[in-house]
Assembly symmetry: C2
Homo-oligomer: 365 residues x 2
């Protein structure tokens, strides 16, 4: 796919590669639409400049790019948002996101030409990863599984599920686990980790189809469509007559309020996300009731982000790779082909058009 | 004080002791008033009956009784309240509460005649402690400090402060600590523990006088009167320009909401109480905003009750007794004399009439 272009000018630039890109038109608010992005072609040198002091640059060829739910703008520009290492959208800049890539050239001591890596890259054919951005690159050592898995089950979403469940939730065999937004990439995995540990697992999701898949394909004990429930408290009491030990919260708001009164003694609420709150105008925020349950039930409620847990990545692989090889975990991908398909694919995950983890194939090697 | 009464009837009951009591007229809602209680005199045998199977009864002479803020009724009868081992008020029953006592007779393997104990007892001269209630008795081994301290700094409130600060808050030297309702028995101690660890400590309280005492007598770095603050967020930003590492929450509601946005990365919120919420009709509960901060700041928010930490009591004494003996902790008591003064004293702590930990002296030995 790399096209060498003759460059008759600057003698240090004798060869350049074509570099197709997907760029953002501007900062965005809320969910991205395909019309918020555009395609362009530029060129990039096929090698790094001569090493300078402390230079850790890595030049990569992108193979797979990932569409993830965090790739959106907040509706209300608030200084409260501090959980991101980077913003996906900036005016006339390539979209930034997770991906799988092959190293073409490297000044970084940990990466060599030919290495496969995953981490934070850009929506283009070739990317120059510099400075602290290289901290978010991980070398891929196990390539006997599909490389695209490193955008999902073996990448950031997988690591999020692992850290949230095994580290934050402190789970025990036989416990009662509730997961909201359970059909998301993280929720699906948390539910399966919990089942593998011998927990009783119930998930909530937003459609009849997702509920059926959670039960029949992902092995959840029960699942329900929150849109069909008028009283979340009653719904949780129906599925957890003995109460909830672990609530893996992806939504916040009313569901959190209902979960709080249904927690068991010494329950744990893992706050992974609060979808219901991201676009709420702070002026109209409702507030969460029932926090007195924190005392009555001695509950630990803990927010986390995956960035604090990447030191556990090798341990994570030791747990999850065998599950994948032994077919103990269900993982479904939806692979769109070509960088051009990126904008539609990204818009699609917010409309629920994807049938599995949305990945964009850029190059096979 | 014990008065032996001749009993001419039953030969097994030849001697009885007079037993003055303070009883509740009924269950109560909200803060107790002296008119909710009455005095009465009954009799009690000065020894235990012959041992029966598994009998662990302990007969004690009460020396000091404790008035604590938890000794009240909830206004709205809700099934949510499960944090208590006992209710202080029941119709025509002696008030139940913490106290210091001397063992007169015992079938319990851990207690012998003459032992000094502290724990859950009743508002009367002599109490028969039976069954699981004996689980809440602790033998007093160190009597070189005032015995009354075992109702406060060396008893339940002290243990609550210790567990909440050292165990739940996971404190580190130099951290920024905020304590609401800081002039309460627990708040005062938490603040002093935090100072002894080298933390920066700010407390909120409800009067100018309390604020001055926190700063001048209890060694807090700063304190403020929350009744004079219209904007808790602004107040916290004034005292914690760099943010809060540990919020020891005794009040909940609006102060918790403001603390949440002022927490630092990896902050901890210890939920010890939510005074502002206890009497709120669930129909009119407002809900707490800013919970998104839990994720953005990776905050751990944890409710606890002292009952889960009594196994650490010996460790607690090892920490606190030296502090007391070396004069490193300020502790103020307000001792009322005689069981008759109990109802007024208990009413008084809810009106702020006490000048220190409210104790009732029943007998000196």
């Amino acid at each position: 796919m790399a096209t060498a272009l003759a460059d008759g000018g600057d003698p240090t630039n004798t060869m350049m590669m074509r570099n197709k890109q997907v760029l953002a038109k501007d900062y965005i608010t809320g969910n991205p639409k395909q019309t918020d992005m555009y395609l362009s072609v530029t060129t990039i040198k096929p090698y790094l400049e001569v090493d300078s002091n402390n230079d850790v640059s890595v030049l990569v060829k992108n193979l797979y790019l990932s569409c993830d739910p965090y790739m959106r703008g907040v509706k209300f520009n608030t200084t409260k948002v501090q959980d991101r290492l980077f913003n996906s959208f900036a005016p006339d800049s390539p979209i930034i996101g997770y991906g799988v890539a092959k190293v073409l050239d490297s000044h970084h001591p940990e990466f060599r030409k030919g290495d496969l890596v995953w981490g934070v890259t850009k929506w283009e054919e070739y990317s120059l990863i510099t400075d602290s951005m290289t901290d978010s690159l991980f070398k891929i050592k196990d390539a006997d599984v599909p490389l695209s898995y490193y955008t999902g089950i073996l990448g950031m979403p997988g690591m999020t599920s692992y850290a949230g469940f095994y580290q934050v939730a402190s789970p025990n065999k036989g416990e009662f686990v509730f997961i909201s937004s359970a059909f998301g990439a993280v929720g699906q995995l948390v539910g399966q980790f919990a089942k593998l540990m011998g927990c009783y697992v119930v998930g909530s999701a937003g459609s009849k189809q997702k509920v059926e898949l959670l039960k029949n394909q992902f092995g959840f004990d029960e699942a329900f469509n929150y849109k069909e429930e008028h009283d979340f408290d009653a719904a949780l009491k129906r599925y957890f007559p003995q109460g909830i030990d672990i609530y893996f919260d992806n939504v916040g708001g009313k569901m959190l309020e209902a979960a709080l009164v249904n927690m068991r003694l010494h329950g744990r609420i893992v706050v992974a996300g609060m979808i219901s709150q991201y676009d709420v105008d702070p002026e109209h925020e409702k507030g969460v009731k029932n926090l007195l349950s924190l005392i009555y039930k001695r509950i630990r409620m803990e927010g986390f982000t995956v960035y604090d847990y990447y030191h556990l990545y090798p341990k994570f692989l030791d747990t999850v790779l065998p599950y994948i090889r032994q077919g103990k975990i269900t993982y479904v991908e939806d692979i769109a082909e070509g960088l051009e398909s990126g904008p539609v694919a990204l818009e699609g995950i917010f409309a629920g058009r994807n049938a599995g983890k949305q990945v964009i194939l850029i190059a096979r090697d």
